[in-house]
Amino acid sequence: MGYALQQLINGLSLGAMYGLIAIGYTMVYGIIGMINFAHGEIYMIGAFLSVLTYVLCTALGVGPTPLVLLAMLFASITFTALYGWAVERIAYRPLRGAPRLAPLISAIGMSIFLQNYVQLTQGARIKSVPPLWQGGVTLWSADDFRVTFGWAQLTVVLVTLIVMAGFAWMITRTAFGRQQRACEQDPKMAALLGIDVDRTISLTFIIGAALAAVAGVMTVLQYGVIDFSIGFIAGIKAFTAAVLGGIGSVPGAMLGGLLIGFVEAFWSAYLSPEYKDVATFSILVLVLLFRPTGLLGKPDVEKV
C-alpha cells in the first residue's frame, strides 16, 4: 500500500513534467497543424538556462532557495520564450502555406541544429547543480517503509498546478486566449475578423516555450543533472502524451502527461522496467484504436 502510494507520487511529479512539455506540442499543433519536433530542444534550452541562472545566483550570493528558484524561473522563461519565438520566425514562418510535411522536416533540422549549438557552446559534459531541497514530507509510515513526498517533487507538482491554472485562465478569459482559440478553429475567418494571425501564432510559440522552460527548471530542481541530449527523450514522451490526450486539446495534454507518468512509474514498480516504453506506446495504440482522436480530442469532422 505504502509502496503503491510512493509510486503514485513518483508518477504524479513525472507526469506533471511531461504534461507541461506536452502543452507546447498540443498548442502548436492546434494552431498550425504541425508537429514541432524542435520543442524537446526548447525544453533542453530551458533546463540549461536554469542551470546557468543557478550558478550565477550562487556566484553572486543570492540568498534563500525560493528566491533562487524564482530567479531561475524568470530567466529561463524569458530567454527560452525568446528562443521559441526565434525558432518560429526562422524555421516555420517562411513555410506558412507550404505542404504539410515541410515544416516537420524544418523542425527536425532545427532540432539537430539546436542540440549541436548547445553542445558546441556549452560543451558535451553533463551539467549539474546540487539538490536545492533535501528531504520532504512523510505521508505514511508503516512497517519500516516511509512514503515521502520530496520537497522537490512537491514543488514540481505545486508549480505545475499554479502554471496550469494561470494558463487555463489565459486561454479561457483573456483576449489573447480568445484570439488563440479563434485562430485554431479557422485562421482565415479569424484574419477576416481582424485578428493578427501571425502575431497569435508567435505568441503561441512563446507561451509553449515558456511552459517548456518551466519544465526545464523543474527538471533541474528535481533531478539536478542535465546534458545537451535530454530534449530528445522528453520530447518524444511529451509528444506521445499530447497525442494520447488528443492533440490540440490542452487539458488532454495534461491528462496524457499524467497518464504516461503513472504508467511509467507503475510499470517499473511491478513489472520489468526495460519494457516500460513498450507499455507506454501500446497504451497509446490501444487508446487510439478505440478513440481515434485521443482521450479528449475533438472528433474530426470531414467536410467534403
Binding site: Q134, I226, E264, F266
Partner: protein, 363 residues
C-alpha cells in the same frame, strides 16, 4: 553530377595532405554526441603522446601525425570513419571507444592490414578471430567477475541488486557480475534494466527501497549512477553503488556531489600511481589536464605504437603483428603483453572508491 563531385572533393581534400615522411596514426572515438566527454579524454592523451614522441625525434626518425575520426558511438558512422581513415592511409589506429563501433570498424582495418589498439571492453571485440586487434584494457567478463566476487565477499550479508542500462557494455558487465555473484553463492535480489538517457529513475529507486537493497551493482555509465544516487537519497535510501571503469569520469562527482563517496568501481591499477607514468602525469597536470579515465590509455596506445614500430623496423603488418603479439611494452599504464586473441595477458583490476572528489584504492 553533384554527388560525384562532392565525393571527389571529399576524397581529394584528404589525399594531398599526406606527407609521406610522417607516420599517420588514426584516433577514432566519440568526439561528438552523448559520450563526447570520453572522446575528449582520448584526444588529450593522444595529442600529448604524439607531442612527446615527436619531441624526442619521432619513431624511426619520422614524426607521428594524428588523424581524428568521429564516430559518435554510432556503428554506421564508425564504418564510414574506418573507411575514411583507411583511405587516408593511416598506419595504425587507436580506437574505437564504444564496443559497438569497434566491432564493425575492426573488420575494415583488418581487411586493410592495419593494426589497432582499443580500449573497448566487450568480449566480442577479440572473440571474432581477427588478428589485428590489441586490447590494452581488461574485458567486461574479467572485470565483471572481479566485481562479482568482491561484492560476494565484502557485502556478504547485505542485499544486492544488479541493474544495467541495456547498452552492450552495461549489460555485458552486469551479466558477468550477476554470474560471478551467483558462483560465489550470493544471489542478487533484483536483476533489471533501465533506459539510459532518461532522467527519472524514481520508479526503480523506490523499488530498490521496497526490496531493502543496500548495494547496487551497476553496468553502465556514470550519468545514470549520479541520477540513481540522488534519487535514492531523496527517498532516504543510503545506496552503495559498485560499477565498472566508466565510473572514473569526474563528471560523476560533479553530478552526484557528496553521494559520489558511495561509489566503488573497478579499473586497471591506477596508471597515475605507476612510477613509470609519474613524469607523464606531472606534465599533464602542469598543462592543467587531469590524466583521468582514458587519457593515459590513449597515451599508452601511442607508446605501444612507438615501441613496437621501433622493434619491428616498420609498420607493415607482417613485421609489426608478431612483435606486438610476442613483445613486452612498458607504457604509462604498465607493462603490456598480449595473448593469441589480442587480449592482455595479465589484466589486473583493482577496486577503487571515490572520496572527496578523488578516487583511490578501496580498502
Amino acid at each position: 553530377m553533384t554527388p560525384l563531385r562532392t565525393l571527389a572533393l571529399a576524397a581529394g581534400l584528404a589525399a594531398p595532405l599526406l606527407a609521406h615522411a610522417d607516420w599517420l596514426v588514426g584516433v577514432a572515438g566519440p568526439f561528438t554526441g552523448q559520450y563526447a566527454s570520453a572522446g575528449d579524454q582520448i584526444k588529450k592523451g593522444a595529442e600529448a603522446a604524439a607531442a612527446d614522441i615527436n619531441a624526442k625525434g619521432g619513431v624511426l626518425g619520422q614524426k607521428i601525425k594524428l588523424e581524428y575520426g568521429d564516430d559518435a558511438c554510432d556503428p554506421k558512422q564508425a564504418v564510414a570513419v574506418a573507411n575514411a581513415l583507411v583511405n587516408k592511409k593511416v598506419q595504425f589506429v587507436h580506437g574505437h571507444w564504444c564496443s559497438s563501433s569497434t566491432i564493425p570498424a575492426s573488420d575494415i582495418y583488418n581487411d586493410a592490414d592495419i593494426l589497432m589498439a582499443t580500449v573497448s571492453t566487450n568480449p566480442q571485440v577479440t572473440e571474432r578471430g581477427l588478428k589485428n586487434i590489441f586490447r590494452i584494457m581488461g574485458r567486461d567478463d574479467q572485470q565483471g567477475s572481479v566485481i562479482g566476487q568482491w561484492i560476494a565477499s565484502k557485502f556478504k550479508d547485505k542485499k544486492v541488486a544488479v541493474l544495467d542500462d541495456k547498452s552492450a557494455y552495461g549489460k555485458g558487465l552486469a551479466d558477468e557480475i550477476a554470474k560471478a555473484m551467483k558462483a560465489a553463492g550470493k544471489e542478487p535480489v533484483l536483476r533489471e534494466s533501465i533506459t539510459a538517457g532518461e532522467k527519472d529513475y524514481s520508479g526503480i529507486v523506490t523499488r530498490l527501497k521496497n526490496a531493502g537493497v543496500d548495494v547496487l551493482a551497476y553496468g553502465g555509465y556514470h550519468t545514470e549512477v549520479a541520477l540513481l544516487l540522488r534519487q535514492a537519497d531523496q527517498v532516504g535510501l543510503p545506496l552503495v553503488v559498485v560499477g565498472g571503469d566508466t565510473m572514473t569520469n569526474s563528471e560523476l562527482v560533479t553530478a552526484a556531489g557528496k553521494l559520489a563517496d558511495r561509489v566503488y568501481f573497478t579499473f586497471t591499477p591506477d596508471p597515475r600511481k605507476n612510477p613509470q607514468a609519474a613524469p607523464i602525469v606531472e606534465r599533464f597536470r602542469a598543462a592543467k589536464i587531469e590524466p583521468e579515465g582514458y587519457v593515459l590509455y590513449a597515451y599508452a596506445a601511442l607508446q605501444l605504437f612507438e615501441q613496437a614500430v621501433t622493434q619491428a623496423g616498420g609498420v607493415e603488418r607482417a613485421k609489426l603483428e608478431p612483435v606486438l603479439r610476442k613483445g613486452k611494452f612498458d607504457t604509462a599504464i604498465g607493462t603490456l603483453e598480449f595473448d593469441e586473441k589480442g587480449d592482455l595477458k595479465k589484466p589486473a583490476f583493482a577496486i577503487y572508491k571515490w572520496t572527496g572528489g578523488r578516487y583511490d584504492y578501496a580498502e
